[in-house]
Each structure stands twice: as structure tokens, then as C-alpha cells.
């Protein structure tokens, strides 16, 4: 650090009419690293540039070097909040290639953990939303409620976050009648907590931060292909659980309804997620009532079931953040030729520029949190297009023809 370095800074030309705020990769508003270059004039946002891949781990490349059972554990660790959704999607794709159908009870248990995960993810999101608004107390309260769900996970599956519940052709852990009782009691507590949380978000200071902030019109939402609660809050009825049922959702079609709202702002997204919490509670109750008997594991061992013929499958599930899609191409030798994951957060990021431009700096953390971004999910594939400046359309055929 000599004279040369100091001279360089003296030569800096400052443009005083606009200010470029670097939000991230390290910023208190972000749970995970992502970079937004926000250009502001005064307090008004004029432009947003997004740069991803700060948490790139090369998972899709790793998947090609592991066998199917190892891959199940690998995809689980793509995300901590929605880990079960990733394994479910992957296992469904493998079961489809093999032509295997998991037993009824196993499907119901898969769905139970799926819905419990949705509950814990939405409670986590509510806490993060409160924290971004400066409402620390509500953050602490929602996460205390979430602890009950995590304890339930630990008692059922042995772990709080990465459950390792799915195996090819079934699930690993069963529910005793004792656990069924306990689950219904926990779910009742969660219902009461959700009513309180919803009321707290109606308080004046919280309401002012949410209403009219981060608007995404229905047409924009449709053309940008946002998914999940972000889309449902802009009036689009998209829910894989109803449109393309998987696991036990075909049987449970009458036990839940799709949460919709037309507000298209952060408050609408909050309402949709609060409604989804209630729907998940109803679904959990329905599952516990209708739980069929029978086996939960397939007849064969995992080692034999790993021998999947060459084939490809495309499976999708409704993760807490939206539609999660997996494309799996097996190589016939117990491994994978290609794994492609498209997470909902990647789709939802597209809507951010529309939501932020025209708003204030104070809205940035609130809007970011309202799409519920999960950067760990998003950053497995490098976004190379921005570096080369080229626009390439990657369609289904390109993914298949990509060399192994």
C-alpha cells in the first residue's frame, strides 16, 4: 500500500447524480450470498442488476460421479430448508425410469413430511420477513413456533433438517400411533401460533412496510414465468399439487385448496403463505386420518434397486417456493449421465427487477424476502450467459444432447 495506490483513488471520478448500492454478497438483508447492483437516485431505485453463483458448488457435475443412492444424499444437501422436496423429486424421477411404484403408506408418509416441511419453511420465511422489516420480536416468535416442527422431524426421522426419509421405492421411517397423536397436537399448536403471527403482521408499522410494495402485475408474472406463492399472489393459479398430482396428492385432492390472492404486492405474498400454512395444517390432519396400512419399504434392497436401466425422466413437485423440476438421465450402470435441477428461486428472481424499480431503498430487503429466495437452491449451475453476453435458448433437446 504505497503512494501509487493512494493516487489511484484520488483519480476516481464520482458521479453524484446516482448512487450504486452493492447489496451482497455479504449483507444483513440476505440469508445467502447473491449480488444486486442497485442504482438509486435519492431514495428511489432506478435499476437493478443481478449476479448469481456466489454459492456455486458444482452439484450437477458431482452427480455424474456418484451412484444413485449417493445422489439421493447429494441432492438432499442442495438446500437445508426444502431438503425433502429435492429427494422426493429425484426419487420420483428414478422410480419413473425403473417403473417402480412405492407402497401407499410410503406415499402418504412422503406427503406428510413434505407438508411439514412446507410449514417449517413458511414459518422460517415469516420470521425472515419480520426481521427484514426491523420487527425482531416477531422473528423470534415465529422461529420459536418453528422449533416445534423441527422437534417433530427429529422424533420421526432422526434429524432436524436433512431427513433422509426417502429411499428408492419407499420411505425409511414409519409412524407409531404415539407419534400420530403427537403430530396432531403439534399441528394444533402451529395453527394457534399462525393466527397470532398473522395478527402481528396486521400491526400498523408492519402493514405500512408491506402494502403497495414490490408490485408484480399478472401479465408480468406470466411472461416472466414466476412460480409458487410469488405467482399465486399475482393471480396466477399454479400449483403442481393440483395440476399434476404426485405422491399422495391424487387421493388428497379434496383436502386442500390452492391459496390465491390478487394483490400482487408483498402483502399478497404474505397472505398467500399464511393461507398455505393453514392448508398444510389441514392436509397434515387429513393424512393422519387417512393413513393406510401396509409396508413402507420396497421388497428389494437398495443395492438391487439401484440397477436402473438407461432412461430419462422429468419430474416436478411443488416445493415451498414454487415448482421444482428435475431431469434425470441414467446411464444403466447404477449412475447418472445427467442431472438437471431447475429450482423455483431461479424462476422467481426474474421478477425482481419489475418489483424493485420505482421503489425505495427501504423496500429492497422486504421485496427480496417476499419472493423467499433460496440461494443454495439456485446456485448449482453457473449463469454463463451474462459473462459472454450471448443469449442462448436452452431447450429440452439441448439438455439431452449435452455430452456426458
Amino acid at each position: 500500500m504505497g503512494e501509487g495506490a493512494i493516487d489511484k483513488t484520488r483519480d476516481l471520478k464520482y458521479e453524484y447524480s446516482r448512487l450504486i448500492l452493492p447489496i451482497g454478497p455479504v449483507h444483513p438483508a440476505l440469508k445467502e450470498p447473491v449480488h444486486f447492483k442497485v442504482t438509486v437516485k435519492g431514495e428511489e431505485i432506478q435499476d437493478v442488476a443481478l449476479s448469481l453463483s456466489h454459492a456455486h458448488r458444482g452439484i450437477e457435475a458431482l452427480a455424474e460421479t456418484r451412484n444413485i443412492v449417493q445422489n439421493m444424499y447429494l441432492v438432499e444437501r442442495i438446500c437445508g430448508i426444502c431438503s425433502h422436496t429435492h429427494t422426493t423429486c429425484f426419487v420420483q424421477a428414478v422410480e419413473e425410469i425403473k417403473g417402480l411404484q412405492a407402497p401407499e403408506r410410503a406415499l402418504y408418509l412422503r406427503t406428510l413430511i413434505f407438508e411439514l416441511e412446507r410449514i417449517h419453511s413458511h414459518l422460517l420465511w415469516a420470521g425472515v420477513m419480520a426481521y427484514e422489516m426491523g420487527f425482531d420480536t416477531l422473528f423470534m416468535y415465529t422461529w420459536t413456533a418453528r422449533e416445534k416442527v423441527l422437534d417433530l422431524f427429529e422424533e420421526t426421522t432422526g434429524n432436524r433438517v436433512h431427513h433422509a426419509m426417502n429411499i428408492i421405492g419407499g420411505v425409511r421411517w414409519d409412524l407409531t400411533p404415539d407419534m400420530i397423536q403427537r403430530t396432531s397436537r403439534v399441528v394444533e399448536d402451529i395453527e394457534k401460533a399462525c393466527t397470532f403471527i398473522w395478527k402481528s403482521f396486521q400491526s400498523r408499522t408492519a402493514d405500512k412496510r408491506l402494502t403497495g410494495v414490490g408490485l408484480l402485475s399478472t401479465d408480468d408474472a406470466r411472461s416472466l414465468c414466476v412460480v409458487g406463492p410469488t405467482a399465486r399472489a399475482s393471480g396466477l393459479t399454479l400449483d403442481i399439487r393440483r395440476d399434476d398430482p404426485y405422491a399422495a396428492y391424487r387421493d388428497l385432492k379434496d383436502s386442500f385448496s390452492v391459496a390465491l390472492d390478487n394483490g400482487a404486492d408483498c402483502r399478497a405474498r404474505l397472505e398467500v403463505r399464511m393461507k398455505e400454512l393453514q392448508e398444510s395444517v389441514n392436509l397434515v390432519r387429513a393424512i393422519l386420518d387417512q393413513l393406510p396400512g401396509g409396508d413402507i419399504k420396497p421388497a428389494d434392497s437398495q443395492v438391487r434397486l439401484m440397477r436402473v436401466p438407461v432412461g430419462e425422466a422429468f419430474s416436478r413437485v411443488e416445493a415451498p417456493r414454487g415448482e421444482l423440476t428435475y431431469y434425470v438421465l441414467t446411464d444403466g450402470k447404477e449412475g447418472l449421465q445427467r442431472l438437471k435441477v431447475r429450482t423455483p428461486s431461479l424462476a422467481n428472481f426474474a421478477g425482481l427487477k419489475n418489483m424493485l424499480v420505482g421503489g425505495e431503498i427501504a423496500d429492497i430487503p422486504v421485496v427480496l424476502a417476499s419472493i423467499d429466495p433460496c440461494m443454495s437452491c439456485t446456485n448449482r449451475v453457473a449463469a454463463v450467459d451474462t459473462e459472454t453476453g450471448k443469449e442462448t435458448l436452452i431447450d429440452f433437446n439441448d439438455i439431452r444432447r449435452r455430452p456426458a
Partner: protein
Amino acid sequence: MFPVVVVVSLLFSGVDRKLHARMQQRVGPPLIQPFYDMVKLIHKERIVPLTSSPSIFVSATVMAAAMALLGASIALTNVFTGTSFMGDIILILYLLVITSILMMIGGSSSGNPFAAVGFSRKMTLLIGYEVPLLISVILVSAKTGFSLSYHAIISQQAQMGALLAASSPSMAISALVFMLCIPASVGVVPFDLSEAKTEIAHGSFIEYGGLYLALLKLAKDITGFTMSFLGLTLFFYLPAVIQKHVALNPWSTIGVCIAGSMIVAFLTITLPRTVSARAKLGHALKFYMAIWALSLVAVALTLVGL
């Protein structure tokens, strides 16, 4: 008096953090955590950014802490020993305002865009809360014989044997205005927009570390203590009411005042911090326009003689 001010302010901060945690169903840090923080920060590396102007960056912290310390000491000495001079209430308020301004100036001199945003927000908010604050203090001195002496205000209450806020409607309104301006002048949620953690990454404090951060935290805590102390002694001078029943020596007087300020600090700093979200600039200004209106009502009442 300086060590007393430091110790008491940090204790106030510790109590605030503990109560805040308890209200959130947490255990919270020990009461003397701010002392541990001070000691640790003093040992940490002091970084002066390349894009800053080092003279302002460093001196702003030292001056902010010094001004806050001075203001608090004058207030405490007044109540303890009764030494006073004309205009000292204006001096105390001036020192507290200059502390906030120096903290912002130091932050903005760092060259960080977040600090620039924090600076502009604070300057905008300053218009909102400083004027009602000053109006309420001027009204207090108007009611106590037009002397701008802190001690005169206190002894007037002692002579009356009643709290100033309870003596007339304009004084009650002034007390309310003063209390409502405390959260913004100290910088706590809902009016901590200039140091918003999630929006602008601590605003003016972003580039400070080590001894500089220790001094700024000290300045902030002392401001919190002094504002609550002023709020109590100007409007609710408890020893005035207590000495009708019990004889008070200077030590118990100061003890009662500090205990009373702890209650004021709880109501105006800890409670809003716990139960509300952060306000946006537009909403905060609208709120303070209402406070402006309230203080003008108090002025009108004073002119009428109530």
C-alpha cells in the same frame, strides 16, 4: 463525573438489551455485556478506509464521544450538586444534537454508499424531531420563569412540590412531545432508519471498527441515558414529590433520578424497540408532522397561560 456517566450509560444499555431479550422469550446477554463489548472493541484492529478522509473519519468519533460525555456530565452535576449557569439546558441539548450529527458526518466521510444513504436519512429525520424537542424545552423554561437554567427548572419543581408535567396542560403535552422524540434522537426502532441494519447495513456505522466503534457505541449509549434523564428531570422530577414525605440528601436524589430514568428509558427506548417494525422515511416524517402539530398546540396553550 465522567467515569460515573460511562458506567451508568453502559448499565442502561445492558438493562435495555436484557429486557428486550426477555420480552422476546430469550435469555439475553448478561447485564454487563456492554462493558465486555467495550473492552473487546478497544483491542480490535482500527481500519481507516482508503476512500475516506482520515482526519474527519477519526476525529468525528472522538468528538462525538466527548460531546456526549460532556452533556451527560453537566446534567448529572446539576442534579447532584446544584451548580448551574444560565443557558445550560440549551448547552446540554446542543451537545446531544451535535453528537448525533458528528456520528453521521463521520459515517458519511467514509466514502461508503450505505453511509451516504444513512447520512441523508438522518438529516431528513432531524428536521422532524429536533424542532418539537427544542420547542418543548423552551416551553418548559418559559413556564419556570424564563430562566434557561437547568437547576432553576428542577428547583421550581422542588418548590412547587409537584411534577411539572402534572402542573398544567401545556406542560403535559410538552412532556408527551419530548418522550415521543426520544426514540428518533437516540436512534431505535421504529425510527432507526439512519442505521437500519437490514436495509443499509448499519448506515453510518458501517466502516467503523475497533476503538472508533467503541467510541461511537459509547456516544450512542450516553445519548440514550441523557435523553431519558432529561425527560425525567425536566418533566417528572420525582424527588420533588418524594421530599414532601422523606428527607433527601444529594445521593438519594441522584439515585431516585437514575432509577426514574431507567423507567423512562424502558418506556421510550426498549418498549418501542420490541413491539414495532422499522418505519420508512415517508411514514416517519408524517408521524413527526403530527408531533409538530402537538407541540404547536402546547405553544398556543402556553401563550394563553395554561
